[in-house]
Structure formats: C-alpha cells, structure tokens
C-alpha cells in the first residue's frame, strides 16, 4: 500500500489538537505531550499560579461597596426564595382587594339609586350635593319609562327607564340616528332582484380578451331617421338639408333664416318633429 504523507500529518494534527485542548482544560499536563508544546504548557501553568498580593489589593474597596449595596448580613440563610411573598402577605392583600371591591360595588349601587331617585329624602339631597344626583323634588316623581320625547327630567339629566332591580337603561336620543360603520356593506333587500336592462351590454375590461360583439342590433327610435352622410347624399338633395326639421331645433325663437324655400323632395319622407 502506498504511503500517503498527508495522512500522517492529519494524524499528528489530531493528536496535537487533543493535547492542546487538554492543556487548555486543566492544569494536568498530558504525558504524551509533544516536546515542542512544553514551553506553552509552562506558560499556562504560570497563568494558573496562586494570586499575588497586588491582585488582592482591592478587597477593602470591594467589601465597602458590598456593605453599601447589600446591607447588614443575616446569619440565618433563608430557605425560600427572596422574591416570593409570604403566605400571610398574599392572604392579607387578597382580603384587602376583596374588601375594596365590595366597597366599590356598594358605592356604585348607592350612586345608581341616587341617580334613579330611589334614596330617602335626606340621602337624596346629600347625593345631589356630593355627586350631582337629581334633587329631592325631582326624585319624588320617578320616570314611567316609555319613549316619549316630551318627557324630560332635569335639563342636565334626562329621564331614564328604571328597572325594578335598580339598574337603568339609558334611552337613545330621539333625534339620534346611529350611522353605519364605513366598513359596513348594506345587504340588498331580499325582495329586490336587480335584472339587467334588455338593451344593456356590459363592456369587457381592457385587460380581458374582448368577447365578440353581440349580434343583436338595437332597434332605431321610431321618431328618428338616421341621416346619411353628405358624401353619400345625392347632390340634388344636399341643399335641402337646412330645411329639414331636426329632432333638436338648431335655431332659437328668433326670426327664420332668409332664403327662398325650395320645394320638398317627394322621394324622401319628411321627419315628424318630436313633441
């Protein structure tokens, strides 16, 4: 088998890499370390040597900084994580939260009753003073509901329909018409079915291959007779054009143009003027 020199180099490189990795990982020097790498091993051993005096000179400053930031040392190590609140604290905070929620609900109910005029006289007056609820004399005539626009309470607070359990439902303003959202697309009326006009032919889009034209020929208007172009009109009839009655009058209410009228041709029917 031939001896390939590069295979030997690869093996040596792999062994050397393993030795280098071992030198970097720990202080123990491999026994089969190549002689050329021994100086490097000595350098690494010196880098791992014990600390000298100047490398420990900043300890006083570091301890002072530690006392300022961390605080007084505790002799007993905590068994539970610092950031987790205690069970008692969590219970207390839950109770406080529940109590606060109950108070808020109660106040809300009182305010609702005040606006509905359901509080007794003195309380209603106090509510009127504090939160601006309807005064006592208005509270004695509760609203009967309904949608009459004429029923009005105070100028500031319109009448509202009050339900038995105290909640109120604000009535919409009689002149308020909610506008549909711009993105709303109204659906067509179910009884309406748009049908195409019999004479309407939709035009194809220019990017689309145009469809062949329909073969139907629109019927001409009964009162309209298409005139041939003058180039196709016989010469003897050309001077009669100006005496033909057009569908849309050319001249205004002014005097007629001068010129001797020429006799009408008998071969062409005269157009009937439209009403």
């Amino acid at each position: 088998m031939p001896n390939f020199p590069w295979l030997g180099r690869q093996d040596a490189s792999a062994i050397e890499d393993a030795a280098l990795e071992a030198m970097l990982s720990g202080p123990d020097v491999p026994e089969d370390l190549a002689a050329g790498l021994q100086p490097a091993s000595d350098v690494l051993a010196a880098l791992r040597a014990r600390p000298s005096g100047d490398e420990l000179a900043g300890e006083t400053f570091a301890m002072a900084e530690f006392r300022n930031r961390v605080g007084v040392p505790h002799p007993v190590r905590r068994t539970r994580p610092r950031r987790r609140p205690s069970l008692l604290t969590s219970l207390l905070s839950a109770k406080v939260a529940v109590a606060a929620a109950a108070v808020a609900v109660a106040l809300g109910g009182v305010a609702t009753a005040a606006y509905a005029g359901a509080l007794p006289g003195g309380a209603q007056g106090l509510a009127h003073t504090v939160i601006g609820a309807p005064p006592e004399h208005h509270a004695s005539h509760p609203s009967g509901g309904g949608t009459h626009a004429g029923q009005t309470g105070s100028r500031r607070y319109p009448r509202h329909r009050v339900r038995r359990h105290g909640c109120f439902t604000p009535r919409p303003h009689p002149r308020f018409t909610p506008k549909p959202h711009p993105s709303y697309t109204a659906m067509p009326h179910p009884s309406f079915t748009p049908s195409a006009h019999p004479s309407f032919t939709p035009k194809p889009h220019k990017s689309v291959t145009p469809m062949p034209r329909p073969t139907c020929t629109p019927a001409p208007h009964p009162s309209f007779t298409p005139k041939p172009h003058k180039s196709f009109m016989p010469r003897k009839f050309r001077h009669h054009r100006r005496h033909h009655h057009h569908r849309f009058p050319v001249h205004g209410p002014g005097p007629r143009p001068t010129g001797s009228p020429s006799p009408r041709p008998t071969s062409m029917p005269s157009p009937t003027p439209s009403a």
């Binding site: 050397e16 280098l20 990795e21 100086p39 490097a40 570091a62 530690f66």
Partner: protein, 184 residues
C-alpha cells in the same frame, strides 16, 4: 475555583454575608486582574473596580453555577473594556518584560515564585504578544476557567473559531516561550 460549595457561598453572599462575598471576590478577582492587565493595560485596576460595582448591583438576581458566575463577571468586565476603548485612544498593552523590575510590585511568596519556571508576569507578557483574539481566548480559557462555548458567547464567535484561535495561540505561545529561553 470554589467547586461544589459554590451554591452555598453564593446564596450566603446574596443574603448579605460578608465572608461569603469575600470568598467569591478572592476567587474571582485575581483572574479578572490578570485578564485585564493583558487586555486593558494600565486601566486594569479601574476596570476591575467598576466590574465589581456592577456585579454587586445584580448580585441578588443572579442564578447559576460557578461557570455561569464567572461568565457573567467576565462579560461585565469585557463590556467595560470596550467602553473604555471607545472613550480613550487605544493604548496597546505594554509587555511586562519591558517594565523595569523596580516598577513591578513584589510577590508575596518569593520562594514559591523561584520554584516556578516562568513567573506569572512573564507569562502574561508573552500572552500579550499574541494577536488580540488568540490572547483573549487563551486568557478566558486558562485564567477565567471558561469552556469553549462560554468563551464563544462572550467574544461573539463560533465555538469552532474559538477552538482554532486557542490552538493557534498555544502554538505561537510555544514559539515565543522557546525564543525567550524557557527550558524544562
């Protein structure tokens, strides 16, 4: 490295134990200073102090093992180095071999240092001669004790690129050390 007792030490430090924090500091700061002396040069001590200030801000919220702790601290440190480079004109790290011996602080244990083939300062000076990425990768692997994946996330390269940079750096380091006259 603290080892298996790291979790207890960390928890005690987060609860406010000065002794526990001191243990964390003594275990991490020397590696931090060695890394900064090669990467940041003269601003090593200042950046190390700022690193601990920022570490203390987030100490109570940190969660992880010792590897994650070191990766977190060195990430803060590296960001401060980048900020420092943006603020000032970049000053290349002066090799310690060029620093007069009188300017170097004396080592705590001279006898132990004599037994070592190469001093830590000389080793750091040799590492500083490497290309920046190779030097940083070797320091983070050897001094900080981070694995290849953590180093790759920190420097923003792939693990394969980090591995190649580290191996090339070691081969070059061997040449530098041989040229400097390091013998067995």
């Amino acid at each position: 490295m603290i080892g298996e007792g790291f979790a207890a030490v960390l928890a005690a430090a987060q609860d406010g134990s000065e002794a526990a924090f001191a243990q964390l500091w003594r275990d991490t700061n020397p590696a931090l200073v060695r890394y900064l002396r090669v990467i940041a040069g003269e601003a090593a001590e200042d950046i190390a102090s700022d690193t601990w200030v920022r570490t203390l801000r987030g100490l109570s919220g940190f969660r992880g093992d010792e590897q994650a702790w070191r990766a977190w601290v060195f990430t803060i440190c590296r960001h401060l180095v980048i900020d420092e480079r943006r603020r000032d004109i970049r000053k290349p790290a002066v090799p310690l071999s060029e620093v007069p011996p009188a300017a170097l602080p004396p080592s705590a244990d001279a006898s132990d240092e004599a037994l070592e083939r190469i001093s830590t300062r000389a080793a750091m000076a040799m590492v500083a001669e490497l290309p920046p990425l190779q030097a940083e990768v070797i320091l983070l692997r050897v001094v900080a004790g981070l694995d290849t994946e953590a180093v790759a996330r920190l420097v923003g390269r792939s693990p394969g690129a980090v591995r190649v940079a580290a191996h090339r750096g070691l081969r070059r380091l061997a040449q530098i050390a041989a040229e400097a006259g390091v013998t067995l």
